[in-house]
């Protein structure tokens, strides 16, 4: 099995706000990310596809095709957008790195027909990133309920 990774970048703005929370709760939970005017990041996305090289081409999949899929599905949808308001797939969700990575997985998984999507890694900053592995493996047996409802702090 060979794992092939392609990287792209997109820039977008977002804000964290849960309408079910009071203004004070939103500020406490989300900190400066709750600024109503939003703020932005240069996101870096690494998409990893697993597969076996085709004996005729030596390729897991056609990189040009992967580039076009990423352009169409991700760049055109998210680059230079306000994620809360302009990306319908994120409607009703807080556009955290976790949720954006899961949306990206759902967008890409059905489009990748040669090899299988193995991992979506999304960097919000060089020091913060999320890996999404889809539903293929159950790693959530120890999943916990929210444990910090009354705690302060910001991300």
């Amino acid at each position: 099995m060979i794992y092939l990774t392609r990287k792209i970048e997109f820039s977008a703005s977002h804000l964290y706000h849960n309408p079910a929370f009071s203004a004070e709760e939103n500020r406490r939970v989300f900190g400066k990310c709750n600024n109503p005017h939003g703020h932005g990041h240069n996101y870096v996305l690494e998409v990893t596809v697993a597969g076996t090289p085709d004996p005729n081409t030596g390729m897991v999949l056609d990189l040009k095709e992967l580039k076009e899929i990423l352009q169409r599905e991700i760049i055109e949808r998210m680059d230079h957008r306000f994620l809360n308001y302009e990306v319908p797939e994120l409607a009703g969700q807080i556009p955290t790195c976790e949720n954006i990575a899961a949306v990206i997985w759902k967008l890409l998984d059905p489009k990748i027909t040669e090899g299988t999507l193995h991992r979506v890694r999304l960097y919000e900053t060089p020091d913060l990133f999320v890996d999404c592995y889809g539903d293929s493996e159950s790693g959530l047996e120890n999943a916990q309920e929210s444990v910090w409802e009354n705690e302060g702090g910001a991300r």
Binding site: Y16, N18, A20, F21, V29, F30, G31, Q93, I94, P95, T96, C97, E98, N99, A101, A102, W105, P126, D127, L128, F129, V130, D131, C132, Y133, G134, D135, S136, E137, S138, G139, L140, N142, A143, Q144, E145, S146, V147, W148, E151, G152, G153, A154, R155
Partner: protein, 140 residues
């Protein structure tokens, strides 16, 4: 959706690789310049990966403020600007290689209450990296 969240931190510390059960010559042969009796230091980068359910109310696996506080208390405040051999109890009996430091950091972070610790990845330099995911089955 299986989601892992990773966060990078850094600290600076000194160490000396020396095994008191070996002769001076054996230590020198095994550890080379890392056996310099005065020690030497690194800017370590520690990458902490946690997993769990994404809380629908917040969209988060773990609250970063809580994770930052926990890592600061358990790791950064303990190791930053310290001599690992002289000031960290576990390294009085164990050579403070980056392998052993990675395991020590994992053990200190294992009980993070906000999410499940998946992996600690420790960079000693930009060329040397170590990872530890504990001994349990099924970890990645």
């Amino acid at each position: 959706m299986k989601i892992h969240l990773s966060r990078r931190y850094s600290f600076a510390a000194s160490h000396r690789l020396h095994n008191p059960r070996l002769s001076a010559e054996q230590n020198q042969r095994l550890y080379g310049k890392c056996n310099n009796p005065y020690g030497h230091g690194h800017n370590y980068v520690v990458e902490v990966t946690v997993s769990g359910r994404v809380d629908p109310a917040t969209g988060m696996v773990a609250h970063l403020g809580k994770l930052d506080e926990f890592v600061a208390r358990e790791v950064l405040e303990t190791f930053d600007h310290k001599n690992l051999n002289e000031e960290i109890a576990t390294f009085r009996e164990r050579v403070p290689t980056t392998e052993n430091l990675c395991i020590e950091i994992y053990n200190r972070l294992r009980d993070f209450p906000g999410a499940r610790l998946e992996r600690v990845r420790l960079e000693e330099t930009s060329l040397n990296t170590f990872e530890y995911s504990g001994e349990r089955q099924g970890s990645r």
